[in-house]
Symmetry: C4
Subunit: 238 residues, 4 copies
């Protein structure tokens, strides 16, 4: 594979990584974004520990799904194996974002899934935002970053969730991952996740025992954006 | 009706829509503003699902009160029917704003009206900010967006409230709507609503059982801004 | 008195008023600042209901301590009588600021004085930030804005507090007032008050029954900034 | 020692002090940074009570570890003795930052150490962020600022903590101190501390009795960044 064939993938990866601090989702090096080229079987990801302010697109690292470095002179994000595992299992994912954004991380640290309290949530997914269970000591002491991905995939399997329908997750004691059909959509989902977590935290502060919203309203809002007869936005959804 | 006659209405709609993200009330496409031309019996509204960053005034859609498109090449906001229903029932409304602003949405998600805790609230309305009851499944499965407007109008009827006196409402499990005699005033009310919700949430965090402020003080602050002998501001109120 | 003699007072008043929105203490017209010329027996104050964005120094209104307009073509802030009463009673005050800043207003709405929880507070005052009691209906129905000032002055008398030592107060169900020997100091005190209120709210959220800090530490921090042997800053305190 | 030999130390001190307000850690004069030249046995520190907006690098004061002024025409920060005591005891420290940042100060005011609730914390230290005990009246009435440093050093001794491993502390009823091998790292630690405190406060608001995260996960995250086989970032750790 010629290296300059990877230039646009690396530029895309750079561009959407840079949105994370400007959207208030990341300080310092608290996050990373990858995007995939399924045809070539590679993904581009932020280098490890490089501050956003000094990073250039040339610093982006390209890996195959076994995390062999295909292109790049720096070490990839230490979370690269989690991204690789997710790309192998979530076939539609075109981009993946991991952050330690404040409110989503607080829910992850409380080891709680985020209940559906309103239509802002239902506009995006008709299920609570799942939080994984805690990893076992064996997983932690083993191939930790791969196991983080395994934990996410197993959570979706256990809950019978499709990663196309639910494009975000909280890893218990850790923080959020979000994905989407493109890097742009993955960033969007990361920002929405943070806002849903903030709204839900405030909702709980106002209501002693807030209830999940009515199921019919959940379905209505989800369907008007994502259903077969969706009428939100400018394009027919598939 | 000649299309260029609608240009100024569309420009006004564009201009005030653009204030919503800059005032921190909207991220992505989480909101919409409309403004009305009562003489022509039409209103202009944001197109559905178009990001604020890429929108131009030419993208604004003009509808009559039955939501027939009079001008515009894009699909209108999916909430257009709610706006239309409100324009038909709230005769003085010149502009309507719907957002998912964080604190107002949290109160709506907690399905709670916002009590009057202080003069900042009483400067704007002498009633709690009403929250509708939950919609019935029949309403949700029916003409949902029109029914959202019906829910608001019925809430005002049941509480004997005038939409000229109370220019904001929370839709349970959903979020806020605000209006005013102009688009500018509707934006102002949306921002004030968000701030009142934030102050009230903090007030409750500080006082186990905060009490509604004294009624005489509510009336005093409301009257000095809005009464027949109002003395706030530079112009006599009607 | 020649009008152009008042130009610098009006410019000063304009300049420090404009800091309030930029410091995040005021949205729209939710606040006002005045500054005094004791020699001439007049004070300059923001006009009522004029947005900060469109205000110019020429819009500032100059009043004597009976609130007779000495200079200016607009109506003064509706709170002008409160300012006048405070200038008559707090002889050292050179500037007064009234805002509805979020956290200070929340404490005022909870009708609570702000306890001393840490040295940030003790660096500025060695007493809790007092909250007035509620006004009587007679006060509210009478000369309301003058009575607001009376309420503040009586609170200080009852608590044996000097307005030179404690330069801030919360008016119950309403919001904060702050003052200082200059307009600059009054703005500083308004910002510090907001931050002290925010820290105290968070402190209470973390500790079920947080305790007032040790008295010896209160005195130490207050004295190192304000005592006869103060050693903070570049100038000897009086 | 020639004064111009100190220019680069003073410029470095100035530059990193100026980051504190821009990172949202300091308003007005609520903080100070120092950096050390171990070869010369001196450190540079912010002058006392000088606002960040008007400060220049020439205002920086250089002291030896007994706080004798070596260079500078202004009085040093009133906390200089705390810095000096820490430099004498924490040999690896190249820079020290003291702020009254909002969330860290709230934890200090609640007199609580910050529990490890997640990997963001464990990425930086594998111990709770310690909060000192309250100072005795004798300490407060004695050489207060030196005693503040003593209190920190004793807290580390009592908990058998290394200041190389744990580079931040809360002083009870006061606020945070952070340090690092350079001024840059000390600023980084101050910002991270504030964010960890904010996440932990939110975590507690979401979980009635949140638990310390699993110990194996604490070690894993700490070791992958700081252990002998660390693989985070671009350089081998020692």
């Amino acid at each position: 594979m010629k290296k300059n064939e990877l230039k646009s993938l690396k530029e895309e990866c750079y561009e959407y990584n840079m949105l994370l601090p400007s959207l208030g989702l990341v300080i310092y090096t608290f996050g990373n974004l990858s995007c995939v080229d399924r045809g070539r079987g590679v993904f581009a990801i932020k280098p490890s520990g490089v501050p956003y302010e000094t990073m250039s697109w040339q610093d982006i690292v390209v890996l195959d799904f076994d995390c062999t470095i295909i292109d790049g002179r720096l070490r990839p994000s230490s979370d690269a194996k989690t991204h690789a595992l997710l790309y192998r299992n979530f076939n539609h994912a075109g981009g993946i974002v991991h952050t330690h954004s404040t409110y989503a991380t607080a829910w992850a640290q409380a080891c709680r899934s985020v209940p559906i309290y309103g239509t802002t949530h239902a506009d995006h997914l008709n299920h609570e935002i799942p939080c994984t269970s805690l990893m076992s000591d064996a997983q932690i002491d083993g191939d930790y970053e791969t196991e983080t991905g395994v934990q996410i995939v197993e959570t979706f399997a256990k809950l019978h969730l499709s990663p196309e329908d639910v494009q975000m997750v909280l890893v218990a004691s850790h923080g959020p991952f979000a994905w989407g059909e493109s890097a742009e959509k993955a960033v969007y989902n990361s920002k929405v996740l943070e806002e849903l977590c903030r709204m839900a935290q405030l909702t709980e502060s106002l209501a002693r025992k807030p209830e999940r919203m009515k199921d019919s309203l959940v379905q209505k809002h989800y369907e008007r954006k994502h259903g077969t007869a969706a009428y939100y936005g400018q394009e027919k959804k598939k």
